[in-house]
């Protein structure tokens, strides 16, 4: 047996695997009884048969129950039993066919599988230990059923439609809400693809999303930010909101997806409503905003206008001051044009209307000084035609201001005489024009023309009003200047005349002085002779005359002396009008007292009752008032000399709010018929033999009172007395 080495043995073994040549059939080895042998054989066959059936049953079992745990072990176990059976079969066959080498091979394979199975079983023991028993399963099942029914309860009571799908999108479970929302019975949709609940147009998209979700499952909303729609059984669609949550099923190693679907038709409607409200609101806001903007715009415009008005007012005041500052009106108008030009207009022209009606441009101003000459050139070359309606001549004719807010090019073209004329007008810039007359009491002095070139600004009604006001003030200034000039002229003439008169008066005054001087000298000299020689005759030659002759000479003497007095008084009277007044405060009462004392002294034999009011104080010339009071009191004294008691009152009364002084006596009085003669020089109402006097006293008093701007009048009654009233 041992003559072969191992490799030869192995090679020979496999070459003669099915050879039976070197071995006897078992029946031929030993002493097999029939029984023994057949028992052996039959038992082996029976074992083999059983061991053959077991794996088949196992495979069937596994096939029938794929969820069976540890299938590998089952497979190994099946193989192990099958090979065990084969060893038994070969044992039985060997009784007739001694294939011992095959038998060994079979046994080796069986052994190998057996040990693999042992290892496998060993390895799976912990797993097998963890495998639940049926009881466990039953308990678990119960638990499961409980939790499932709980879950189902939750599912059913969920307010949303709950759709549970498998990872491949098959509907596994739905709740009553789902039936209600989608209109399907649950049996109609369970097992169907979830897309049944999705409008067709989203199917493709939905499928890919769903598959994507299964790969990265997590709790989230579906289609965030998108409008989702469900589809009812009847095909109608409705907006939905879906939240997804994955649920891992342990046993199935798969996930199911729970979708909570909410019909948000109402919400959408509300949203739409809100949106609509919002839109309305927004619309309102926009409307209000635009209204506000409009109001703001208006307010701004008003403010601008106000500012402009303010500016204009300031300008007008400035202009007025300027206009009033000079009386040279052509200079004034030039200043005006200068003022107006940058601030109000781009250019300004002032034309003067002469007395004979000719129109002369006296000043032109332009923002661009170079264009001033242009304006003159235009005026010279193309003087405005008086017969053409509109323009300065029309304004001069009608006195009505004109406003041309915007002169279109065509109009300029129609006005132009030729291309050069048009060019000049364009260069000057005649886009917007105001022409206002310079008027005063319907007399037109000229016209003020304001112009705007193409600066974008145009004149409007406000500007016209402003220009009218400006023109009104300018006209007034012109009128004033003219009046002033006239006044100056007439003043100068007047002054000349006054000077002439003064000179004349001075000459007359001088003559008068010379006259009174010569009167005092020359008229008196002959009187002296008359008096002197008459006296001499009476003295030295009295024996030559009888009494009558002497009487005549006496009369000559008296007459010449009276004439001397007359001359003296006359000179006094002349002097009163001539001398300068020297005003001071005078106490008339005191002055009257001293005069009365003097009078009393001159006639101490007379009884007198004199009343003089205290403190009559006035302002006047002391000397003159003394003369006046002396005359008046002297008269009162003189004309009451025949009364047994002289009564004189010097006092005041109030008349028409004025103090009236009066001097009253109880003397001879006079007939009021002759009152007019009273204050005339040399006028006497009594004869000399009754009351001496020259008739100049009251004329003197009148002059003194008049020089004090006062008046004097009298009341008298014959034999009752006289009252002189005077004011000062």
């Amino acid at each position: 047996m041992l003559k072969y080495n191992i490799m030869e043995q192995i090679t020979e073994f496999f070459e003669k695997l099915f050879s039976v040549a070197s071995w006897p059939a078992r029946w031929c080895c030993g002493n097999w009884t029939e029984f023994h042998g057949w028992l052996y054989i039959v038992s082996d066959l029976a074992i083999w048969a059983a061991y053959f059936v077991i794996p088949i049953l196992l495979i069937l079992f596994i096939k029938k129950k794929p969820s069976i745990p540890l299938p590998t072990v089952f497979w190994l176990f099946g193989a192990f039993i099958l090979f065990c059976g084969l060893t038994h079969l070969i044992d039985a066959i060997i009784f007739w066919w001694p294939a011992y080498r095959l038998s060994a091979m079979l046994r080796f394979i069986t052994a190998t599988i057996s040990w693999i199975t042992v290892v496998a079983i060993y390895k799976y023991i912990p797993v097998a230990l963890s495998l639940k028993t049926t009881k466990d399963f039953e308990a678990e099942l119960l638990e499961r059923k409980k939790s499932e029914s709980k879950f189902m309860g939750l599912l059913e009571s969920a307010p949303d439609a709950m759709v549970i799908t498998s990872s491949d999108g098959k509907i596994l479970m739905v709740n009553a809400q789902t039936e209600q929302v989608f209109g399907y019975g649950r049996n109609e949709i369970i097992g169907k693809e979830v897309e049944i609940l999705v409008p067709e147009r989203f199917h493709h998209e939905h499928t890919s999303h769903r598959q994507g979700y299964v790969k990265h499952p997590k709790v989230r909303g579906m289609g965030v930010g998108m409008d989702l729609f469900g589809k009812r059984k009847d095909g109608s669609e409705f907006p939905v909101e879906i939240s997804l949550s994955p649920l891992k099923i342990v046993e199935e190693e798969a996930i199911i997806v729970i979708s909570a679907i909410r019909d948000i038709t109402k919400q959408k409607e509300t949203e739409a409503q809100i949106r609509k409200l919002n839109e309305n609101l927004e619309h309102l806001i926009i409307e209000r905003t635009s209204e506000l903007e409009l109001a703001l715009k208006k307010e701004k415009a008003a403010r601008i206008e106000m500012d402009q008005n303010q500016l204009r007012l300031t300008f007008l005041n400035k202009a007025s001051n300027m206009l009033a500052s000079s009386l040279d009106y052509s200079e004034t108008l030039k200043n005006l044009a200068n003022m107006v030009t940058p601030e109000i207009a781009d250019w300004c022209a002032i034309d003067e209307v002469e007395e004979d009606g000719t129109v002369m441009r006296i000043v032109v101003e332009h923002v661009d000084p170079e264009k001033i000459s242009l304006a003159y050139e235009l005026q010279q070359k193309y003087p405005s035609d008086p017969s053409v309606p509109g323009g300065i001549h029309e304004v001069i004719r009608t006195h009505a201001p004109e406003l041309y807010p915007c002169i279109p090019d065509e109009q300029l073209e129609s006005l132009a005489h030729n291309q050069e004329h048009l060019r000049l007008m364009h260069e000057l810039g005649i886009r917007s024009v105001i022409i206002v007359p310079l008027l005063n009491r319907d007399k037109i002095y000229g016209v003020l023309t304001l112009g705007l070139s193409d600066s974008g600004r145009l004149f409007d009604e406000n500007d016209l009003e402003f220009a009218k006001e400006l023109a009104r003030r300018a006209s007034l200034a012109i009128e004033n200047a003219k009046l002033y000039k006239e006044m100056q002229d007439s003043n100068a003439e007047l002054e000349l005349r006054v000077a002439q008169r003064t000179t004349e008066l001075e000459a007359i005054n001088k003559e008068l002085e010379a006259f009174s001087y010569s009167v005092s000298h020359d008229l008196r000299a002959p009187l002296r002779s008359i008096d002197g020689f008459s006296n001499k005759i009476l003295k030295d030659y009295s024996t030559l005359f009888d009494d009558q002759g002497k009487d005549y000479f006496n009369r000559v003497v008296i007459a010449s002396r009276h004439m001397g007095h007359l001359i003296d008084d006359l000179i006094k009277l002349a002097r009163i009008s001539r001398i300068d007044m020297n005003k001071e405060e005078i106490n008339l009462s005191a002055m009257a007292q001293s005069i009365i004392s003097e009078l009393k002294e001159s006639n101490p034999e007379r009884t007198a009752n004199i009343y003089i009011q205290d403190d009559m104080i006035i302002t006047g010339d002391r000397n003159l008032l003394y003369v006046a009071l002396h005359n008046l009191l002297g008269n009162a004294w003189k004309y009451s000399k025949n009364k047994s008691e002289t009564v004189i009152e010097f006092s005041t009364i109030q008349k028409d709010g004025q103090i009236v002084y009066f001097i009253r006596d109880n003397g001879a009085g006079f007939d009021m018929r002759y009152v007019d003669k009273l204050f005339g020089a040399f006028q006497r109402l009594h004869n000399l033999s009754e009351f001496e006097g020259t008739g100049i006293g009251l004329a003197t008093v009148l002059r003194i009172i008049r020089r004090h701007h006062g008046t004097i009048w009298t009341e008298s009654e014959v034999d009752k007395g006289t009252t002189f009233f005077f004011t000062l």
């Binding site: 005092s520 000298h521 008196r524 000299a525 008096d531 008459s534 006296n535 001499k536 003296d568």
Partner: protein, 153 residues
């Protein structure tokens, strides 16, 4: 008498009536001094300075008093007075103004120019007579012992 006659009165008067009345008044009042009458201002000055028709007169003889009217032909009284005062020979002679004017300006100027007195000739002859009498007494009688130079002191 000689003394008296030495005391010459120079009367400067253009009105013959006034001259006569003045002389009569002198006589009535026993003023017997020699009276030289000059009928205008020129004549008065000629006498005083020995000029004109008075050329060569004894210049040692000067009037005791000069009665000077203001309103005079040729040279008026105030000018005569001024000349008298501006000449060394005559500047101390007493001059009495005898005028018909009572104008303040005449009175003032007269005194300013050195008149000794100002008498207004009144219309009333009696008063005139009284005035002349007093004048003569004062200048010719009471002041007899005074020379012009003494008076000037």
């Amino acid at each position: 008498m000689m003394k008296h006659s030495e005391k010459i009165i120079l009367l400067v008067e253009d009105n013959p009536d006034d001259e006569l009345l003045t002389l009569m008044t002198f006589r009535d009042n026993n003023i017997t001094n020699e009276v030289i009458v000059a009928r205008d201002g020129e004549e008065a000055l000629d006498y005083l300075f020995g000029t004109g028709k008075f050329t060569g007169r004894d210049m040692n003889i000067l009037p005791q008093v000069i009665l000077l009217d203001l309103k005079l032909p040729k040279i008026d009284g105030l000018e005569v007075l001024q000349k008298i005062r501006s000449n060394l020979i005559t500047n101390l002679l007493p001059v009495v103004i005898l005028a018909s004017s009572k104008e303040e300006i005449d009175i003032m100027k007269s005194y300013q120019l050195g008149a000794y007195s100002y008498i207004r000739k009144p219309v009333d002859f009696e008063q005139f007579s009284i005035a002349i009498k007093q004048l003569g007494l004062y200048w010719l009688v009471f002041n007899e012992s005074h020379s012009g130079i003494a008076l000037a002191k």
